[in-house]
Subunit: 334 residues, 2 copies
Amino acid sequence: MTSDHDDGYVLALDVGGTGLKGALIGPDRRHVRYQERRPTPRAAGPDAVVEGVLGFAHELYETGRDRYGAPPLAAGVIFPGIVDEERGTAVYAANLGWRDVPLRRLLSERLHGTDVRVGHDVRAGGLAEARLGAGARATGGRFFFVSLGTGIACAISTGDGRMETGAHGGAGELGHIVVRPGGEKCGCGQHGCLETLASAAAVTRAWAVAGGDPTATAADAARAVDAGDPAALAVWDTAVDALADGLLTGISLLDPELVIIGGGLGEAGETLLTPLRAALTRKATFQRLPDLVPAALGDAAGSLGAGLLAWDAVTAAGAGALPHAPKGRSHDRH
Amino acid sequence: MTSDHDDGYVLALDVGGTGLKGALIGPDRRHVRYQERRPTPRAAGPDAVVEGVLGFAHELYETGRDRYGAPPLAAGVIFPGIVDEERGTAVYAANLGWRDVPLRRLLSERLHGTDVRVGHDVRAGGLAEARLGAGARATGGRFFFVSLGTGIACAISTGDGRMETGAHGGAGELGHIVVRPGGEKCGCGQHGCLETLASAAAVTRAWAVAGGDPTATAADAARAVDAGDPAALAVWDTAVDALADGLLTGISLLDPELVIIGGGLGEAGETLLTPLRAALTRKATFQRLPDLVPAALGDAAGSLGAGLLAWDAVTAAGAGALPHAPKGRSHDRH
């Protein structure tokens, strides 16, 4: 089957604390036809970020229309924070300064009435890994997609093809499991959260202190671990130990078949996964341990996930016009 | 609508570490027509427990046939441990000494070919609370049913009418979340599990030590708390503090709308729930707290849940024979 331009395309927007990623994605869901990035104008305040997103989306819309002679069939936009997917609003996004932003309405107006879907960045990434990436290894569909970035978040799937949102859009806050009671104060106000010990940002901070280089990154720390640097190994061990404790808690509660590790720190691959598997094996008693694998889609998971939200809207609109929805899509409408 | 004897009944068996509860339940699902209890012959070994369950089930079968002139339409049996609901086997049950017991086949043979469903005791209790009890307060269906008994277990529902089993039947082990790293050794081999601090058994042990009465129960401790006994308050505070930490972890991961507290310690009602709500409010930072309510079905949740498993089998068999299943039951067949 060809992904002919006649089959249309969708607009995908991944809004992060530092950058905006835009993409136009074809009907095979995994084919990014066009992409563009720009910085998030965070310093200019929350309203400027909203305007930046709307303006960028509109430029992508015009780019698509110029290239393919038609507007996008739908648009998907994702961000980190509390999302009300039903109403299409950004309830709260600390990194963007957003509170109760009616994102779907604003974007749809700016995009001349295009159907817009709003989602959570890590849940969208999990959806993409589930359908297009490493999630295919969880035959029963029960997995965690853990993003180790500036913070730590987790998309949880309990086997029905969707990512769990929780009652108020707040599910998946693995980074705020307290693994070291009375430990370092977290940005959230609790003490000893997993995020203070095992996020890419936490490892970067700890390695900068241990290595004395304030410009070093988590990737530098991973390279130093590979080179056998004892200070780097100590930093790594602290992160791995905390991460194993946090994951084991999630495993005790939900018994997933697979854990997919992504985000900046996830790019360390086996440098992270090998000691993490060993720590889990050492700590587990009755728990059946899931397979632990790297994310397959890397940096593109978010954009592809935003594209899936948009394509699902297209499919649902099509299905709604038919007397019988295609069986294989029924889980999309939960 | 009357629940006429002509509409049939099912056989429900709740197998616990100390007692077996048998019941015959009518088509309204909540009407227990007949019930009987006997001790679990645990001292005689795992095979004797299996034989005890089979013999008891057969007596209930004959009682039903004598009373109502017909055999049960189906049977449901539940127990604490790892359950393979698909294959109908008891994979592992520490309290019963069971390992890989083909419970569905054995029971079906003993009950002259009756359709048998096998389930997890706390998940079945959660299902009963969801459909017949306190779960009706969670309009989106996202809740925890926490049983504070000899151990601590939790049924988790993520909103689609079923209780999450996990990939290997192991979901819901809230009692084995480590809340006090390096704390008391748990029966599971880990240290500082929630179960070592906040189960009915843990409170009973702590209160026996504090009060000097080795025959005291968790209910005695609750009464002493109500009377303002300082030693009892100290025991209670330790349990409440640990329970709040464990629940907050579950809330961060899954964002439920409702937490239902049951089991022996749950019978303390507001003596437990009032300080627990206060501890959660004190500890939570970004989390939206769920409503915290007592279980509505008490001791009967397990039997009613086993009955629901059996009635669902009856409904599924009926639906399978029809061109269209009744819409309201579709979630039963996940």
